[in-house]
C-alpha cells in the first residue's frame, strides 16, 4: 500500500540512494585513512630501522666481517660494546621505549638474540628469510619491519598497534555515527520536501473529490500559478467551471420545463376538482372540459417543443446539407399558416424571387414557420407580416418583419433564450410556450447559420436568419 503512494516511493528511492552514497563514501574514507595511517607507521618503522641499521654498520669495523660480526668496540660508534650483544647508545635507546611504543630486537643468523630493547615483547618469532632484505609484517597487535644484513643478522623494529587499532575503530565508529546522522537528516529533509511538493496534489485531490461529490461551485485554491501544479489547478478549475455552467443551464432548463408543465397541470387539477366538487349545470361541465382540453393542448405543444429541442441538440450530424430554395420554403410555410393569419386578420407579404442556400429543408421550414407564427401572433390587429429574401455576401438571408410592438432593448438579446418571455408571464393571448425562438436558434446553429433580431422604427420586430449561400458556380 505504501508503494502506491508517490511520497513513499520517493522516500524509498531517496533513502536507498542516500545509503549507497554514504556507504561508498564512508568506506572510501575509512580505507584511505587506514592506508595513510599504515604508511605513516611504516615510514616511522623504517626510520627506526634505519637508525638501527646505521648503528649496526657503524658498530662493525670496515673490512671485517665475521659471521658473528660484532666487535663491539670502537670510538664514535653508535652502539656500545657489550659482552652479551648489541646495544644502542642511550640517546638512541630512547627512541625505543614504552613512551614511543617502538621496540627492536637483533638476531644473529642462527637465531640467537644479539640485543633487544627493554620494552620488546618476550617472544618474538624471527622472520623467516625474505626474498628481499627488507620486509614488513603485521602480527596480532603489532607491526614490525625487519632487515637482513648481508652477514645474516636480522634487525627488527616493531611497534604495538593496539592504540592505533583502537583509534581506527573509533574513527570507524564516528564515520558510522556521522553516516547515520546524515541519513536521518537526509530522510527527514526528503520527507519534508516531498511532502511540501506533494501537498498541493493532496489539496487538489480533496477539493476535486468534494467538487465531484456535488458542490460544483467550489474551486481549487491555486496559490502558485506559475508551477506545474498551479497549471493543473487552473485546468481543473476551468473544467469545473464549464461543467458547472453546463449543469446550471441544464438545471435551469429542466426547472423551466417543469415550471411550464405545472401551469397546465394546475389548470386540469383545479378545473376537474372544482367541477367534481358538486353537481353542476351542463354548461359548467362543458366549460370545465374545454379548459382541461386547452391545458392538455398546451402540454402537447410544450412536450413537442421540448422534444424538437432535444432532437436538435443531439443531432447536428443527421441534418442534410443540400441546396434549398428559400423562396419555396417561405411559400410552403406561408401556405400552412394562411388560416391562422386569416383568423388574426393578418396579411402576409412575400417578395417573390429565387434564392438558394445550403441547409436542411425540413429544419429550415420549421424555423420559418416558427418566425411567421410569432410575427402573426405578436402583430397588431390587421397588421402586415413582410418576408424578405436576399443575398448578403456569402449568406442567403430571410427576414420576417411584423408591425407589432417590438421588444425592449434589454430583451432583444434574450428572446432566443429558452423560456424567455418579455413580460415574465405566460403569453396567455398568444399561446406560446416560450420555446419557438430558442428552437429556431438551435436549428440555425445546427445548420451553420445564425439568427438575430432588431426593432424596426416606428414599431415592429425584424427577425433575420442566415444560412450559407450557394457558392458561385455551385
Amino acid at each position: 500500500m505504501f508503494l502506491r503512494s508517490i511520497q513513499w516511493r520517493l522516500q524509498a528511492w531517496h533513502g536507498l540512494t542516500l545509503i549507497l552514497v554514504l556507504a561508498g563514501f564512508g568506506f572510501t574514507v575509512f580505507r584511505l585513512h587506514r592506508e595513510t595511517e599504515l604508511q605513516q607507521m611504516d615510514r616511522e618503522l623504517d626510520q627506526h630501522l634505519n637508525v638501527l641499521v646505521r648503528a649496526l654498520r657503524d658498530h662493525r669495523p670496515p673490512g671485517r666481517s665475521s659471521p658473528t660480526g660484532l666487535d663491539h668496540s670502537g670510538p664514535g660508534s653508535s652502539a656500545l660494546p657489550s659482552s652479551r650483544g648489541f646495544r644502542l647508545l642511550p640517546e638512541r635507546e630512547e627512541l625505543f621505549s614504552e613512551e614511543t611504543g617502538f621496540y627492536y630486537i637483533v638476531w644473529r643468523r642462527d637465531g640467537h638474540t644479539l640485543g633487544r630493547s627493554t620494552n620488546a615483547p618476550v617472544s618474538i618469532p624471527m622472520p623467516s628469510v625474505a626474498p628481499s632484505d627488507r620486509g614488513t609484517r603485521a602480527r596480532e597487535l603489532v607491526r614490525e619491519s625487519f632487515h637482513f644484513t648481508p652477514p645474516g643478522e636480522c634487525l627488527l623494529v616493531g611497534r604495538l598497534t593496539g592504540a592505533d587499532q583502537a583509534r581506527l575503530r573509533r574513527f570507524s565508529m564516528s564515520l558510522w555515527g556521522l553516516g547515520a546522522g546524515v541519513l536521518t537528516l537526509g530522510l527527514l529533509g526528503g520527507w519534508w520536501i516531498a511532502r511540501r511538493a506533494l501537498r498541493p496534489i493532496t489539496d487538489i485531490t480533496t477539493t476535486a473529490a468534494r467538487i465531484s461529490g456535488g458542490n460544483l461551485s467550489e474551486r481549487i485554491e491555486a496559490k502558485k500559478t506559475d508551477d506545474e501544479l498551479g497549471h493543473l489547478a487552473e485546468v481543473l478549475n476551468a473544467t469545473f467551471a464549464r461543467l458547472q455552467a453546463s449543469f446550471d443551464r441544464q438545471r435551469e432548463f429542466t426547472a423551466n420545463a417543469a415550471h411550464e408543465l405545472r401551469t397546465p397541470i394546475t389548470v386540469v387539477m383545479s378545473q376537474s376538482e372544482s367541477a367534481l366538487a358538486r353537481e353542476r349545470s351542463l354548461p359548467e361541465y362543458r366549460e370545465a372540459l374545454a379548459a382541461c382540453l386547452r391545458a392538455a393542448k398546451r402540454m402537447r405543444q410544450l412536450t413537442e417543443a421540448l422534444l424538437s429541442l432535444a432532437r436538435m441538440d443531439g443531432s447536428q450530424t443527421s441534418l442534410k446539407r443540400e441546396q434549398v430554395d428559400l423562396c419555396a420554403v417561405v411559400r410552403e410555410s406561408i401556405g400552412s399558416l394562411n388560416s391562422l393569419a386569416e383568423q388574426s386578420q393578418i396579411r402576409i407579404e412575400n417578395e417573390h424571387g429565387s434564392l438558394k442556400g445550403i441547409g436542411d429543408p425540413e429544419t429550415l421550414r420549421l424555423v420559418v414557420t416558427n418566425l411567421l407564427t410569432n410575427a402573426i401572433q405578436y402583430n397588431r390587429e390587421g397588421g402586415v407580416v413582410t418576408v424578405r429574401i436576399a443575398s448578403e455576401s456569402s449568406w442567403a438571408v430571410v427576414s420576417v418583419m411584423d408591425e407589432g410592438p417590438g421588444v425592449s432593448a434589454d430583451s432583444l438579446g434574450r428572446i432566443f433564450e429558452r423560456f424567455y418571455r418579455e413580460d415574465g408571464s405566460r403569453s396567455r393571448h398568444t399561446g406560446g410556450v416560450g420555446l419557438g425562438l430558442a428552437i429556431a436558434k438551435t436549428c440555425m446553429a445546427a445548420m451553420g447559420g445564425s439568427i438575430s433580431a432588431t426593432n424596426i422604427e416606428p414599431h415592429g420586430l425584424c427577425v433575420t436568419v442566415r444560412i450559407p449561400g450557394v457558392p458561385i458556380g455551385g
Partner: protein, 217 residues
Amino acid sequence: MRVLVIEDEPDLAASLGRSLRDEGYAVDTAFDGEDGLFRAESIDYDAILLDVMLPKLNGWQVLERLRRSKKTPVLMLTARDTSGDRVRGLDGGADDYLVKPFDLAELLARLRALIRRTSGCASSLIEAGTVCIDTVARTVTQAGQPVALTPREYCLLEFLALHRGEVVTRTTLYEHLFDEDDSTLSNLLDVHVSNLRRKLGSDVITTRRGHGYCVEG
C-alpha cells in the same frame, strides 16, 4: 369573506373563482399585476391569492407595492418550488406560499387558516355565547343543536363572529360579503340579519343604530 384572485391563466382563475364561490367567498378576479394591485389597494379584501408570473407587474412587485399601504393577507401561488423562492416570498411579505399544482382542499384550508389568523382566532371553531361556528364544516350550532343557515347567512354570521366585540359597519359588511358582480340591494343585508335573529335568537346580533352590527364576544 371577500377574496381577490390575481392569476393570468384564465382557466385557472375561473376554476379558483368557482371553487371559492362554492365555499361562500365573494371572489374578484384580476388577470394582470397592475389591475390586481389597483383592486387590492382600493378594497379591503380578507385575503389575496397572488400568482408570481404575471404580465405588467409580477407577483413580487405587486406584493412589494401592496405592503406599502395594506396588510391584507396574501397567499402566493407559484410553480417555482425551490426553498429560495419560498423564502423570498415569505420574506417579501407573503403570509403563506403554495406551489402549483396544488390540491384545492389544501388551498381552501390554507385560506381559511390565513383569514382566521388575521382576525386573531387560532381555532377553526368560533364561539360567541351559546352559538358555535365550525368554519371547516361551515355549520352552526346553538347550545349543541345544529341550525340550518343559507350560505349568505352563514357568511354574515362568520364575519361578525370573527370580529366579535367590534361594531361592523354596513359598508364593511357589503365589501366583504358581496363581490363586484353582485348587484345586491342594500336592504338584503337587513333581511339576512333578521333571518339570523329568527334562527338564533334576537340577542345574538345587536344593532348599533347609525354604526352597524355587533356580535358580543
